[in-house]
Symmetry: C2
Subunit: 415 residues, 2 copies
Amino acid sequence: MATLGAPQKHKVTIVGSGNWGTTMAKLVAENVKENPSLFEQTVQMWVFEEEVTIPKESRHYDAGSELANKPQKLSQLINTVHENVKYLPNITLPPNVVANPDLPDSCKNSTILIFVLPHQFIPRVCDQLKGKIVPFARAICCTKGVDVSEKGIRLMSEAIGMHLNIYCGALSGANIASEIAQEKYSETTVAYDPPPMDSRNPTPKGSPTSSQVDLISPSRAVPSARSAHLKALPSEYPPLSHENVRKLFHRPYFHVRLVSDVAGVSLGGALKNIIALAAGFVDGLGWGDNAKAAVMRVGILEMVKFGKAFFAESVHTSTFTEESCGVADVVTSCMGGRNFRCAKMAIERGESVFDIEQKVLNGQKLQGTSTAYEVNEFLKSQGMENDFPLFTAVYNILEGKVKPEEIPELIEPKQ
Amino acid sequence: MATLGAPQKHKVTIVGSGNWGTTMAKLVAENVKENPSLFEQTVQMWVFEEEVTIPKESRHYDAGSELANKPQKLSQLINTVHENVKYLPNITLPPNVVANPDLPDSCKNSTILIFVLPHQFIPRVCDQLKGKIVPFARAICCTKGVDVSEKGIRLMSEAIGMHLNIYCGALSGANIASEIAQEKYSETTVAYDPPPMDSRNPTPKGSPTSSQVDLISPSRAVPSARSAHLKALPSEYPPLSHENVRKLFHRPYFHVRLVSDVAGVSLGGALKNIIALAAGFVDGLGWGDNAKAAVMRVGILEMVKFGKAFFAESVHTSTFTEESCGVADVVTSCMGGRNFRCAKMAIERGESVFDIEQKVLNGQKLQGTSTAYEVNEFLKSQGMENDFPLFTAVYNILEGKVKPEEIPELIEPKQ
């Protein structure tokens, strides 16, 4: 189909349309508009269809309209008013964002799939997409977190990559979606390690392999063995180089730094929630800013240690200490994130974090509590609880086995 | 004087008795008590003598006493009530802290001098001590900041070391004094690179040299040439190893990490104030937590770059990205420090930071504004303004040459 001088363009789909997904659709749509030689001009956004009624406080509510107070399909509403009235109200989407409730159709012929879904939907969505995407598509996972269990650690990007048999990078940073949607200045980190472009070489070599390990444990197989499934991009497409990935995400209000460390970027987004709980505990004790900064610093170093211990081949210290997905995300999460606030509230009220989940979050679980338990289960299985004293302290505080007042003693460096 | 099996002990003096100096005296006195084989049991604290009247709200105010409402000498008051009622009220000092208004007497025979003075007093105090201290004394500078001018950069520790012809390390961290005085958990970083102990070798080799450069510019002389003045500790004293320095400062509520990078520790304490202004600017614009975390991250990387550019031989990236004197101090300063608060207030009120200094601080200068100007003068002289876009943006905002809204554009990485 390629003609000389007019190469195929990349087609982009946003898989997800919540608060963060819709924000991502907005900024990616702005970027494809500015780079018409690289990208097709329409950005598909897959919408998990539901019926919504325009809220009375919405600028799109028209009391005189026959549709007022009537449920409408979310996808149709988005395409009509160019706003996700339910998940990202008051933000106008560029007209080249097209909401599509048909998952396979929204991803058809797309060479770039941007996953922005709640964690638990990823396996189901990937199942539905299997065999229905182009084999040389590339994915970027914007869902934070990893699956950790006694058996090992699975990055979200790995889950997507292995399910769909494609390459998957990761995007993570100090990214409160509503601030980015309002075009308030933010930064992010994109981890992307493009496989070689040459279609004559169907088994790409190189570093993407490092994030393609299915289940990782300290004694895991050499990751490079897992890369054979990756399909190289056909040569008639513009290369998906770091430069072009950056063009897809970077905005004047959303600065992007590209790295190659997919595991580090993914771990940062998960482990920071444990640190946010610790920061909430010491803040709840009224210990002040020195103490809060101290647990943040200790936590960042435990992130580094965790990455090095279990992803030695690929993880860089600087991903945690210098990038938005590390230090900056820790800072944002410990200034006012939900994990921080609930942990603080638990101490102030003299209740457990689980009481707060029940009473304040109506039973919803915090990301930090589940990550703290998963990480502890894994560390226990490796006999390495003592090597991560802050992560272990947070778990033991959640379990009621130690008191938050004991944190300094528990994390005191032995010398 | 040394007898076999009973070596000389180190004698410690705190040079300074403000908020931070008195806090330091308290914790050091607690530590010498716990290490009687290493340290003499009395800690001298030099007090700049002044007459104070016990405030009515003080727990030591006794309306019936003949001393009530009468001015008393601060040093005598401290030694009577074991509290610095003026600079660290409501904190009981251990009885082994002895306030002494006579500077040379307070430092007589001391082998460890801990400087905790306002920046501007250091030259004068050193002049008064010249020739009156033991030649093998060691100093630790707890005063934050560096002197930067067109000519070069001078660390506080360098100034002390050169003036007194002794070795001087540095202590800096996320250390709000009042929190530490209340024994709220905190961390700090001590940079100390002890010269060799052997008194038969009067010209010590090794890394302390790297912090002993008087005036440093990119084209400076090799620093090791400057170390000839250092006197080694006599062998009858216990070694002032990292382990023993740690014993002097580390408390269950005040965790110490030792490093060798004196320049990095000193630079962190100075440059963080420029970052705090930047954080205040974006927070004043109402840009939220992503933006604040972003300028903090960018600022930490400019600190690293500054250290590497001008102290290449000695500065480590990790001093800024992993230690309390770097990332943690930035966090604390950007959460609620004075520079942050005044910068934020300036934007919110639509006034300049200098207006705020006049109106709110009664003309007192912020550390951040003077450091921003000094650093800019130096960078200009090196033709390197563009290599430090955040530091330069802060200077230009203070000068009214650019608006805080331009920060993202000004610091946008070129790719």
